[in-house]
């Protein structure tokens, strides 16, 4: 019984499988701390606006809202509406540029 009283708090970390997520977390933290994450996000946003991707997504949202009635849409619904098309319609050049920058950032923090 004493054991149960003195039982330490459930260690969540132990139950998690040891895979990439931990590493991603580290990277994430590093990116945020160095401000790189914000810069990358801004870069991506800018590129997507330039190539019209953002307008496409907005058009999709508008069409969906018109169909459903504009007061009946939730943000989650809109996210679900845009995500598949959004992920698929990223121009290759944009993707490449961002991936390159992420790569170089990763190598920079490793070194």
């Amino acid at each position: 019984m004493r054991a149960s009283i003195n039982r330490p708090p459930t260690p969540d970390a132990d139950e998690e499988p040891e895979r990439e997520p931990a590493l991603v977390e580290v990277i994430n933290v590093k990116m945020v701390e160095s401000g790189e994450k914000e810069k990358l996000k801004e870069l991506l946003r800018e590129r997507l606006i330039e190539c019209g991707w953002r307008d496409e997504m907005k058009a999709l949202c508008r069409a969906y809202a018109r169909k459903k009635g504009r007061n009946n849409v939730t943000i989650d619904e809109l996210v679900q509406v845009i995500t598949p098309k959004g992920r698929a319609s990223i121009p290759d050049s944009v993707k490449t540029e961002l991936l390159q920058r992420i790569q170089s950032f990763l190598t920079s923090i490793v070194l």
Binding site: L40, A65, R66, L78
Partner: protein
């Protein structure tokens, strides 16, 4: 490499969420040129304009008018209906003049009846070709030469001669 892709997707999801959030805001606030009410109004007014120009809804009147929000037509259509004093039929005001043209000439085809004055005018114009006063003209070109005052004008000139011959 996988790591980079995951980071990229995370950035992308974040941006997608931003876009969705903004569109949601626009939708709920009705900022996007009025997603439903105004759009309905626009569509309705277009339909109204289309049906105003639609020949099937204008009856006899030539379909070149527009209807405004008060139901008035532009240019105005004289659509008051009254009785023709000649034939007794209910006629629309805007169609009265052409109606009279035909109505006054009843018994024959329109515009073939000549009156004394129109015949005299015609003979004056045609310089000497003899015209008997009540002779009917079989071709329409002659009636085209008749000046305005005789056939299209007020019924006064016709009133004493119109019923003289069948």
């Amino acid at each position: 490499m996988q790591l980079s892709i995951r980071c990229f997707h995370e950035l992308l999801d974040s941006i997608i969420a931003d876009v969705a959030s903004e569109c949601h805001r626009v939708a709920r606030l009705g900022l996007d040129r009025g997603l439903d009410e105004e759009e309905e109004e626009l569509r309705l007014s277009e339909e109204a304009r289309a049906s105003a120009a639609d020949p099937s809804s204008s009856g006899e009147v030539g379909c070149k008018y527009v209807v405004d929000i008060f139901g008035q037509t532009h240019p105005a259509v004289a659509d008051e209906i009254f009785e023709c004093m000649n034939c007794g039929r209910p006629i629309m005001a805007g169609r009265f003049a052409p109606h009279l043209e035909k109505c006054m000439g009843k018994g024959r085809k329109a515009r073939q009846r000549t009156t004394r004055s129109s015949a005299i005018t015609r003979s004056r114009n045609s310089r000497g070709s003899p015209v008997s006063v009540y002779a009917p003209y079989s071709n329409s070109t002659n009636s085209a030469r008749v000046p305005n005052g005789t056939t299209g004008g007020a019924g006064e000139e016709f009133s004493d001669c119109a019923f003289e011959a069948p």
